[in-house]
């Protein structure tokens, strides 16, 4: 009986030692006890498996706030980091082009403007009042909408920091700073930063398109919904 109890005690000590990974010389936990697994870094999926970032925006039934025509310039990329791993090749189409299209479609769907025109010329880093007037004259516009993409990144966060195991949350962060400018006076009628994040838990070894694709679309769509609401609520009105 005593011998059995002694053996039980020794086993208990051994298991406790393995759990806490005591730094005894020549001692290392075996693979059977280690819950940590090698996790591959997030690599872009094969081209045919990459998710699509485009979606159908929600159309507003409200009447327009701004009479006249707005020209929507393509997004300017002002991110500090590419989507992940120094590249954007995680989607089936170029990210900047898709998001610029989404911006135009969302402004059109928001119906805050009587007419919306998509401008295709590249947006300069600095647009002076003179440049804005020239663009407006060329396209018969009353307003110009400029937006900068400040964030579109895949971020991974371990949920329980000290615990071994695979419990990473995969977040996609989307951020823009938009400006609505009156073409003639150069007055900024609306300017706000918009940031949204969406994500889901990942417990697999690999991060696949399903883990970040829907989150990216949700973050972008929610971000643009915030933008449309903000334009209606905070945008300065123009006396004609």
């Amino acid at each position: 009986m005593r011998k059995t109890n002694f053996l039980k005690a020794v086993c208990l000590v051994f298991i406790t030692c393995m759990y806490f990974q005591a730094s005894l010389p020549g001692f290392a936990p075996t693979d059977a006890f280690a819950a940590a697994k090698k996790v591959k870094k997030v690599k872009p999926p094969k081209a045919k498996r990459r998710p699509n970032l485009s979606y159908r925006p929600n159309v507003s039934r409200a009447t327009f706030k701004y009479a006249g025509r707005v020209g929507v310039l393509p997004l300017r990329d002002k991110r500090t980091m590419a989507f992940y791993g120094g590249e954007d090749g995680y989607f089936s189409e170029p990210v900047l082009r898709t998001l610029s299209d989404a911006l135009y479609l969302e402004i059109k769907a928001g119906r805050a403007f009587e007419q919306v025109k998509k401008l295709t010329q590249p947006t300069a880093q600095k647009l002076s009042r003179k440049d804005i007037r020239a663009i407006a004259a060329q396209n018969q516009l009353d307003y110009i909408f400029i937006a900068d993409l400040t964030a579109f990144n895949l971020l991974r966060e371990k949920m329980v920091k000290r615990k071994k195991g695979l419990d990473f949350k995969i977040n996609v962060r989307f951020g823009i700073v938009g400006q609505l400018i009156d073409a003639q006076s150069g007055a900024v009628l609306w300017a706000e930063p918009i940031v949204r994040e969406d994500g889901q838990l990942n417990t697999d070894k690999r991060v696949s398109a399903e883990d970040y694709g829907p989150s990216a679309v949700a973050a972008v769509q929610n971000g643009f919904e915030d933008m449309k609401y903000s334009i209606r609520q905070l945008g300065l009105e123009v006396r004609k």
């Binding site: 005593r2 002694f6 005690a9 020794v10 000590v13 406790t16 030692c17 806490f20 990974q21 005591a22 730094s23 005894l24 940590a36 697994k37 090698k38 996790v39 870094k41 002002k78 500090t80 980091m81 590419a82 992940y84 791993g85 120094g86 880093q125 600095k126 647009l127 002076s128 009042r129 804005i132 900068d148 400040t150 964030a151 990144n153 971020l155 991974r156 966060e157 371990k158 920091k161 071994k164 195991g165 695979l166 990473f168 700073v177 400006q179 400018i181 006076s185 150069g186 007055a187 900024v188 300017a191 706000e192 930063p193």
Partner: protein, 191 residues
């Protein structure tokens, strides 16, 4: 006697593993350390135009360890602050590293390059956790294009390749007025 040996062995093992249990990870600890909040005029190198103050200071090795977890190696981090003492909201339109003499811009630094340069290391899951924490930390602390309200100060880290600094680089900041389109340019030397 046997019970005494078991109890002594248990106590010894708990004593050895207690420091290991309490030991923190420097990359996870760095997530909770922020840049010291102060106005741009208190920085060693600062400039003022029309109520907008911009300040810049290099971050030393101790600062790198506290804020990011490790030395940034071939990238030199700078603490940059912008204080808006004007009556209007402003927007940080451009953040570029330029050659001080020619004003020609150097190549843009992707922060993934900074993360790779720091290279947290570790094995298996620990490596992945540290890498993810470092990446989030770098992107959160970097100076971003944003709107600054009147009376507000924003801060962030700007990373400059060491070789650019040796070639005479300067920080170029362009601020836009958000009442009516107008721009202010700032060029500050990197020391």
């Amino acid at each position: 006697m046997r019970q005494f040996i078991c109890a002594a062995l248990m106590a010894g093992l708990v004593g050895i593993s207690a420091p290991a249990m309490a030991k923190g990870d420097k990359y996870l600890d760095a997530l909770n350390v922020q840049l010291g909040y102060r106005e741009a005029t208190s920085y060693a190198v600062n400039a003022e135009k029309r109520g907008i103050d911009v300040g810049i200071e290099p971050i030393d090795k101790d600062g790198m360890q506290r804020l990011l977890g490790n030395d940034t190696k071939k990238f030199r981090p700078y603490d940059v602050a912008i204080t808006n003492n004007s009556q209007f909201r402003i927007y940080i339109n451009q953040i570029t590293i330029v050659h001080a003499g020619t004003q020609q811009a150097f190549a843009w630094v992707d922060l993934d390059g900074v993360v790779d340069a720091i290279d947290p290391g570790g094995r298996g899951n620990k490596d992945d956790m540290r890498g993810a924490a470092l990446r989030n930390n770098v992107i959160d602390k970097a100076l971003a294009h944003g709107v600054v309200a009147p009376g507000e100060t924003v801060q962030g880290i700007v990373f400059v390749k060491a070789k650019y600094r040796d070639e005479g680089a300067a920080l170029f900041l362009q601020i836009q007025n958000l009442k009516r389109v107008a721009f202010l340019d700032f060029t500050l030397a990197l020391k």
